[in-house]
């Protein structure tokens, strides 16, 4: 059975959930080989990857790999593609991993598909385009298919793999070392899950009314262990930081549950959340387009409804 390379997403040595989703997908397509790029690899990480089906784990944990923007990781994957001849390369559809996929595609002269929400055994990918309005099936026609898969699109299932570790040494070329990361600045975001990875997202929009009032959105999010998002109207007004914007020019999320409070549901926003599995909307305008998407909607003042919902959740825990 051919290998399927899965580029591991990790933060501070922890394997991110999307990688487990990719390993689950990869098992349908061949023998999953996890690729760890950059520092932080540990026995704990190895155990996690094996638990979800990694037959092999390629480890390239030199600092060089992570100290320059994107290019070294593309070189690493290109090297592994030439030695392992995999059936496919899977990466998470994050901003950086898509860029790695793009550069890899050029290096190995292969097609790349981005933002897949599913992959069939024939390597045909499902994509949702135009803000969720059109469903597309597409496939790579040249080379080794490279597919970037959206987080939260695949239910995770454990199935032990051998987890055979293989150290990989990569001589990062000088041309891949031209954009140097000189500092990584962490912005405070508390204990909430990351927006694109979160199973539940609670977002606030224009109806929230002020930066201070976003605390009621945060309280609801915390009661559900959710990430907080915001519509463009809210970030443009400066009520919530821009990196939490969900929508066409912000983040695309695909959680199990999306709660939109005080968000009208313009295409700008819908493009970023329409593939959520369950959508709940709270808005005082019964005509708001968000209600067309909602599985459950409450027409009312979010200042009443949201705190009551938060209290009810606390009571029922």
């Amino acid at each position: 059975m051919s290998e399927v390379l899965v580029l591991v997403e990790h933060v501070e040595g922890q394997v991110k959930k999307v990688t487990l989703e990719l390993l689950t997908l990869a098992r349908k397509l061949g023998a999953p080989s996890a690729v760890w790029a950059g520092p932080g690899y540990s026995a704990e990480a190895k155990a996690k990857l094996a638990e979800y089906g990694a037959e092999k784990i390629y480890v390239a944990d030199s600092a060089d790999i992570a100290d320059y923007v994107v290019a070294p990781k593309a070189e690493l994957l290109a090297q592994l593609v030439s030695t392992a001849s995999p059936a496919a390369v899977l990466v998470a559809a994050t901003a950086e991993a898509k860029e790695i996929a793009g550069r890899l595609a050029i290096k190995i002269d292969s097609g790349v598909l981005t933002d897949a929400v599913g992959i069939g055994e024939d390597l045909v990918a499902d994509q949702s385009i135009f803000g969720g309005g059109v469903n597309v099936r597409s496939r790579v026609t040249k080379g080794t298919p490279i597919i970037a898969v959206r987080p939260n699109a695949t239910p995770v299932e454990a199935a032990a793999g051998a987890g055979a570790e293989e150290q990989v040494s990569v001589a990062v070329s000088d041309t891949a070392k031209t954009a140097k990361v000189v500092d990584r600045v962490k912005e405070e975001k508390g204990a909430r899950p990351e927006l694109t990875e979160a199973a539940i997202v609670v977002s606030g929009g224009r109806g929230v009314g002020s930066a201070e009032n976003f605390s009621i959105i945060e309280k609801l999010a915390d009661s559900l262990g959710a990430a907080v998002g915001a519509s463009r109207a809210a970030t443009d007004a400066g009520w919530y930081p821009h990196q939490f914007q969900v929508g066409q020019t912000g983040k695309t999320v695909s959680p199990q549950l999306y709660i939109a409070a005080g968000i009208s549901g313009a295409i700008q926003h819908r493009a970023g959340m329409q593939t959520a599995k369950t959508i709940v909307a709270i808005n005082k305008d019964p005509e708001a387009p968000i209600f067309e998407l909602a599985d459950y909607g409450v027409v009312g003042d979010l200042n009443q409804v949201v705190p009551q919902l938060t209290d009810e959740i606390a009571k029922r825990k």
């Binding site: 860029e99 981005t114 597309v136 954009a179 020019t249």
Partner: protein, 259 residues
């Protein structure tokens, strides 16, 4: 500094966007074409860099004849001149083909800095800037929310999930920008009038020394096998808050096992 800003014409997201039933590519006639929103930030950033450091801003657009509207808009904002890469042979190019065509053109016209939006609102692949850096063999400075140039040195803040990375490189380089890096200016009346007289050079595949075997639908590295309008979501339950809206929403969440 010789700055080239890549600008894409995309269908207006406020109108219904479609794929063509014949070749499954974007139906560019079905919707109004507008400047890709993130590219407006790119044009603004290019203009600010020119204002600070001198030089020239050239707009580069690949697209059909009607994309000339988009070029005029960027010129009206203040860019000096434009190159319109227009050729039927380019129709249906995927990201690999598009990056080849743009990279060849950039090599031909020359640049110190290439600036573009980090993503288009139609294809939304977010890979083009990285691909250009790969093909042009220059530093990739993408997802920037801040750009600083000092002589031949360039530094950006690259937006990440945890905050941002400070990244340093030397020119020439490719920069992609995110929303909020600046506030794009509106074209002034004077700018709109001046744009009509600014030079727009049209180049075809042969002019730009583009390999015809690497562009166009038939040469793409991927294909759409089929597509369909997304089925409408099943109509949900909408209730009016009568003092118990939050409790009712909690009932719904409980019924779906979220609480």
């Amino acid at each position: 500094m010789n700055i080239v800003v890549c600008v894409k014409q995309v269908p207006d997201t406020a109108t219904e966007r479609k794929l063509r039933s014949d070749d499954k590519t974007l139906d560019r006639d079905a919707a109004d074409g507008v400047v890709n929103e993130l590219d407006e930030y790119a044009v603004e950033e290019a203009l600010r860099l020119k204002e600070a450091h001198g030089g020239e801003v050239t707009v580069l657009t690949m697209g059909p004849d009607k994309a000339s509207d988009t070029i005029r808009k960027a010129l009206a904002m203040g860019a000096d001149k434009a190159v319109h890469l227009v050729d039927d042979a380019l129709h249906g190019s995927d990201a690999l083909g598009t990056s080849h065509a743009l990279a060849q053109t950039l090599k031909k016209i020359g640049f110190d800095l290439v600036v573009l939006g980090s993503e288009s609102t139609d294809a939304r692949t977010g890979v083009l800037a990285a691909m250009l850096a790969e093909r042009l063999n220059v530093p990739q400075l993408t997802f920037a929310n801040k750009v600083e140039v000092n002589g031949s040195a360039i530094a950006i803040q690259r937006v990440t999930d945890y905050g941002y990375d400070k990244v340093e490189a030397s020119l020439p380089a490719v920069v992609s920008v995110v929303e909020k890096i600046n506030e794009p200016r509106y074209p002034s009346f004077k700018g709109i009038m001046a744009a009509k007289k600014k030079p727009v050079e049209k180049l075809g595949v042969a002019d730009a020394e583009i390999d015809a075997a690497q562009v166009g639908l038939a040469s793409s590295w991927s294909e759409v096998t089929d597509f369909a309008a997304a089925p409408p979501r099943a109509a949900g339950t909408i209730v009016k808050d009568e003092g118990d809206g939050g409790a009712k929403a909690a009932d719904f969440l409980a019924s779906k096992k979220f609480i």
